[in-house]
């Protein structure tokens, strides 16, 4: 079974040299630590390409934050722009991949990650634009919720972020692709059998 960092490391393997990539909040943010010597440029959808690491204590700049509102730094390649331009490049397919968290993923690639009606209203932020626009949508999340129920479902129960948008799912139990008819196991995490992964999954595995 993979921990958060191992999931992030596995997700980093998805990225190709020269790609412009958007990382969501949570585990996806950790992916930046594992890109190694690949030439990856991170977009922060609030208006920046070339997102650098968190600042050193004392170097925080209130005018320099990421989409999670965290203080960050710039890099030699950094460029700033406004929100309309930022989502123009997202919608226009210039971002090769987005790595996002999720509450639920359905076997047809539906994604839900922005609200639980009557309970938790987070808002979609830029997620709906990202899943509609980027080249490849990779979800990184725990395989089950805190009650032990599968988050990979036959159908999403929560309001959707996007329909038929997820390409690949990386969980603590393994890697699955959305294919014709359901999900296909690409690999299992260390120490996880295919049987265990299937047992923890509600979605159809083909």
């Amino acid at each position: 079974m993979w921990d958060r960092n191992q999931m992030a490391a596995r997700a980093a393997e998805e990225l190709e040299d020269g790609w412009y990539v958007n990382l969501g909040i949570g585990i996806p943010t950790l992916v930046a630590n594992y890109v190694g010597d690949k030439d990856i440029t991170l977009q922060s959808e609030n208006g920046m390409l070339g997102m650098g690491p968190f600042p050193l204590e004392g170097d925080e700049d209130p005018d320099l934050i990421n989409a999670g509102k965290q203080t960050i730094t710039e890099l030699p390649r950094t460029a700033y722009f406004d929100s309309a331009q930022s989502f123009g490049m997202i919608r226009g397919g210039k971002i090769a991949a987005a790595i996002l968290g999720a509450m639920e993923v359905a076997e047809n690639g539906d994604l839900a990650n922005w609200m639980i009606p009557g309970k938790l209203v987070k808002g979609m932020g830029g997620a709906m634009d990202l899943v509609a626009g980027v080249g490849r949508v990779i979800v990184v999340m725990d395989h089950t919720n805190k009650h032990g129920d599968s988050k990979l479902l036959k159908e999403c129960t929560l309001p959707l972020t996007g329909k038929n948008v997820v390409d690949r799912i990386i969980t603590n139990l393994g890697v699955l692709d959305v294919v014709e008819g359901g999900l296909k196991i690409v690999e299992t995490a260390e120490g996880v059998t295919e049987h265990e992964l299937r047992a923890a999954t509600e979605a159809t595995i083909v």
Partner: protein, 231 residues
């Protein structure tokens, strides 16, 4: 034509009306028009609709206008981390029109550019698409979103010259240019007003044609999530 005013209060004089639509720049607490928000609180203007990605945080930024119940409706993409925003919405005290972040930014730009509607893939197949025109282009389905035409824009920039040419700083630019563009009147607060001619014409992010009134002032620039790394 003098665009420079001496306070947020005087800069808003004659522009406020109950029930109006205001477009506000800023993302989270970054690049928000703090001084103009405070002046809106002071003014007591009510039943306003605000188009803004967020609604500040509890007790700061646009959150102040939630506390005073001056906001009737928000057009936003994100509620998270603002307890009062979520509470007022869930209790039905506040209307909330969810806009995907990119759709909101593009709707503001469209309004400013005389574009009353445009098609986007964002939100197709979700609640966002309900009741909206659908149209196929090259075998893919898109929905129509409408331009936002605001009565007033409130915006924060880093520097302005006396003709209103604006320069923003780093990620504090965000929604400020599109918000500025879509208002019938645009009021801008800056950290520094510089003499006309001291900005390089190739470095201007938003030309003064969009800017009607300017004030200079001190900004708290509160940080929402202070995160650091160890050396």
């Amino acid at each position: 034509m003098k665009k420079i005013y001496d306070s947020a209060e005087t800069a808003l004089e004659g522009l406020l009306e109950d029930g109006m639509l205001i477009a506000a720049g800023g993302f989270g607490l970054c690049g928000i028009p703090e001084l103009l928000i405070d002046a809106l609180v002071e003014s007591g203007v009510k039943d306003i609709t605000i188009a803004s990605n967020n609604c500040g945080v509890d007790g700061f930024g646009l959150g102040k206008l939630l506390d005073t119940k001056q906001i009737k409706k928000m057009m936003s993409s994100y509620v998270g981390e603002n307890a009062e925003f979520m509470r007022q919405y869930l209790s039905g005290e506040l209307e909330l029109e969810f806009n995907p972040q990119g759709t909101l930014a593009e709707r503001m730009r469209a309004g400013g550019c005389g574009i009353p509607g445009f098609y986007t893939k964002t939100g197709v197949g979700t609640v966002i698409a309900e009741g909206k025109d659908h149209k196929d282009f090259n075998g893919e389905t898109y929905i129509m979103e409408e331009g936002i035409f605001a009565d007033l824009s409130i915006v924060k920039a880093w520097k302005a010259d006396e003709t209103g040419n604006l320069i923003f700083r780093k990620t504090a630019r965000n929604f400020n240019p599109p918000a500025a563009m879509c208002g019938k009147v645009c009021v801008v607060e800056v950290e520094e007003i510089v003499p006309t001619g001291s900005l390089d014409p190739d470095h201007i992010h938003l030309p003064g044609i969009y800017v009607h009134r300017i004030i200079q002032g001190e900004h708290e620039k509160r940080i929402e999530q202070r995160t650091v790394r160890t050396a």
